[in-house]
């Protein structure tokens, strides 16, 4: 039953996104939910990291890595949408605008998380160190955004959505947001399962080696 549910949510998300694209949704309707979704997943990863440090249950570690990986994918999507949009407004692919610059800086933080995870072999140590790093990284996000915003005051730029009106287009925004959420949910669930199967496999391998 859970398998079917997962397939349905994935297909529903993809259909919603295809519908909004075909209807001609503005890039902002993809950009905004992707960025907000990525911040939200970073927060969710910190909460599950804290839960892991408190309980030492590996399911929280799986949840936190799934959140961060899917969050990074959303962040990549948001950077892609942002640069295309930037190009249409200013004629340049990268104009050091506050949202894009801070998104990139925070994205690099979480790339560090994945590299750290890859470098630690022992499962408990890997989960603990990743959890600690995810707490440090999440606390950095508001400071990075503030710093980039202050830094760009020197050469202010118009807001990316300045002068745009989106009256009557809210169904498209709801459609893309729901589509992205459903897809993210599907990916997170699949990734958590994959992580847990991997852990089970590793533990079986260790048991076999012990004999």
């Amino acid at each position: 039953m859970r398998e079917e549910l997962l397939t349905i949510t994935g297909i529903a998300g993809a259909v919603l996104l295809a519908w909004s694209t075909a209807t001609g949704a503005h890039l902002v309707f993809f950009y905004a939910p992707l960025t907000v979704g990525a911040w939200f997943l970073a927060g969710a990863a910190m909460v599950s990291s804290l839960r892991f440090l408190r309980t030492k249950h590996f399911q929280y570690d799986s949840l936190s890595v799934a959140n961060i990986e899917v969050g990074l994918a959303l962040l990549g999507g948001s950077l892609g949408a942002g640069t295309i949009w930037e190009r249409t407004i200013s004629g340049r692919w990268w104009d050091w605008s506050v949202p894009l610059t801070s998104t990139l800086a925070c994205g690099l933080l979480y790339v560090g998380y994945l590299i750290l995870r890859h470098a630690v072999q022992e499962p408990t140590q890997r989960a603990t160190f990743s959890a600690i790093f995810s707490i440090f990284a999440f606390l950095d996000i508001p400071m990075v955004i503030m710093a980039v915003a202050w830094w760009s005051q020197k050469h202010p730029k118009p807001l990316m959505w300045a002068g745009m009106t989106f009256a009557g287009q809210w169904p498209l925004l709801v459609g893309t947001t729901a589509g992205i959420l459903l897809l993210a949910l599907t990916l997170i669930t699949a990734r958590v399962r994959q992580e847990e199967s991997q852990r089970e496999l590793d533990s079986l391998r260790r048991t076999v080696h012990a004999f």
Partner: protein, 226 residues
Amino acid sequence: MDLLRQIWVVTVKDLRAELRTKEAINASFAFALVILLMFSFAFDPSDDTTREISGGLLWIVFAFAGTLILNRSFARELPNDCLDALIAAPISSSALFLGKAFANFVLVLAVEFMALPVFGVFYNVHWTSQLPELILVMLLGTWALTVIGTIFSALTVNIRLREVMLPMLTYPILVPALMGAMLLTSKLVNGIPIAADTMEWLKILIGFDIVYTAVSLILVETVLVG
């Protein structure tokens, strides 16, 4: 009172070990000189634009040179299982962390103060014109570098590719602090004092230091013991 004494003992131990061998501090200072020289090839040192970005160059030098010292901080304890002995010693993890952080702070600051006159000469910058404020910024920026560097030095001490991992993890986290230190230093070495518009950067530096010192003190036990 006991905590202060424990911190002092660890700091003095680390400083004594470093001053006897001078392995990290010499390498770090030589490295700082090399980068300063390399930058002068990349940017025309007598150019006004270079002077405007000089604070940025200086902090890149400090961050790179500082990493060499910070990498050694916990790695030095690996031979003869000294790290296990330190963790088993009847002192709290926070005392161990603060002791090491203070020792690193002194060493990184020493390299910075040795590199500063060289930088002034190479780039023809009057870095002494706002000295008290510059020292304040250097103290705050260096503490940010040291506190993050020390906790991640403890985190990466036992993992593969330790030397690569430390800068990979610390630099992205240090972005807000380094931005503040760079912008303030650029102004100060050009003789512009801290004013209302640059005060925000000082606040972000202080905030960064407080937040990450607190978080590191809370998490250091988990980092060291698991």
